[in-house]
Symmetry: C2
Subunit: 298 residues, 2 copies
Amino acid sequence: MAKLIECIPNFSEGRRSEVIEALVSEAQSVPGVILLDHSSDESHNRSVFTMVGSPEGIGEAAFRLAKKAAETIDLTKHTGEHPRMGAVDVVPFVPIQDVTMEDCITLSKQVAERVNSELGIPVFLYEESASAPERKNLAAIRKGQFEGMPEKLKDPKWQPDYGKAEIHPTAGVVAIGARAPLVAFNINLSTSDIQIANNIAKIIRESSGGLKYVKSIGVMLEDRNIAQVSINMCNYVKTPLYRVFELVRAEAARYGVQIIGSEIIGLTPMNALVDSAEYYLKLENFDSKVQVLENHLL
Amino acid sequence: MAKLIECIPNFSEGRRSEVIEALVSEAQSVPGVILLDHSSDESHNRSVFTMVGSPEGIGEAAFRLAKKAAETIDLTKHTGEHPRMGAVDVVPFVPIQDVTMEDCITLSKQVAERVNSELGIPVFLYEESASAPERKNLAAIRKGQFEGMPEKLKDPKWQPDYGKAEIHPTAGVVAIGARAPLVAFNINLSTSDIQIANNIAKIIRESSGGLKYVKSIGVMLEDRNIAQVSINMCNYVKTPLYRVFELVRAEAARYGVQIIGSEIIGLTPMNALVDSAEYYLKLENFDSKVQVLENHLL
């Protein structure tokens, strides 16, 4: 079983196709690294890449991408709806197989050191790699955005983890860190009352006292005229999908509302689903590493 | 996504370690083929190998193993509890990824042709590869065993699909064919009454009018003093695990009995579990080929 780490770098460019193509080429340039997906949003003027590979390979690919982004993206000329502070804005590393969170933290620090020393971009470590609790949250680090960073970095509280208190003139600053895999999991309700979805979202999310590692809001699916509990599962190992599903089911029942369906947006690690099958089928002593055939082929 | 076929050859040798080791070496000799598991049973005097690989690789490995078995195993000297008719007794090919059953049937015929022409062993095609309905079932082909084969092959109804009506003097005959993946799935009941497990097994299995692709018997787990419905899922795509689980749950309820757990013995393809997660989580429009991260790495 090979060691596998996922990396999902976000770039502040979603319009110029030649720049996006150059970044795609860079992502594909490292042996053992696979670019699973990339999507660009013109109004956000932002692109998100999803890559997976060996620890060494994925670190090298992340560095090459940061370098190419710094060469091709000028934040002084950037406009877009999405908040941003750097040409490469954020670089998360996610443990997928046979690696620990600690391995990803170590890798994130190696890449951070290299991005700073070779490219001259100041780096904040975030999420599991953060050097202080107030630096875990990307939004807190990015507050003020590119334009506010020169001033923000004068604050002793906001010294970068790598580099001097001075932004890169065109590439800004970047956040690099390790985090658990995120699964975007939405649950559709048999009601058009958004307030019911809002109430359930509030009950299940961590920030208002619900389940740890769960972020959630109510949204309206206008085309289907149904309310949805839209969820980010920030650690499906510690808070699995079935647990959220069953809690939503139980809370919806109070309103006489049922779950009519759910969806996973984008990619999910296999184990997020295998875990739920194990729960519902009451599997005893199941070891997915050994017993799932595909795990022997990775 | 690579084409992958599983092969689970059964050999009539479970005692002589030097023979088993020679077969293991043979299985490991083809690039692109992985020996996932092998187990030997002394009282059965039989070994079962589980390999997976590309269509070309797995066909080559199956042939090399048949050759090695013919060279090292002498059926005239074989004793054991398990019925058998050949040195290599049965060779199933199973579609795992990006291959059709038709591909596996084609491969089984290629290997059968080669085993006969190069090794002089008569071959019966069985299961999905069978040339007639009465040849689908391995037990029907094997009836009479090694000792009865010379006589059986005189019957015009039992001419081999490849080769003359004459057994290989020491390696006997072999069945080769394609079949769907088999998942061994057992369901434990909250009762020590074996009759309840027997009744449920009879209701769910195909042979007595239940679900297609399901074989089932009731067994007693003496150490836990509980009855179990022991199931072979012979096509988990067409009859998925959750459907059997829910039917057993419903039938057990008539006796006031609950399902207290289940188990999967040995290996299962990922999709046998992903399918069940999809059902219980009511996932809409989920495409495991695209959305399960690991599928991009195989």
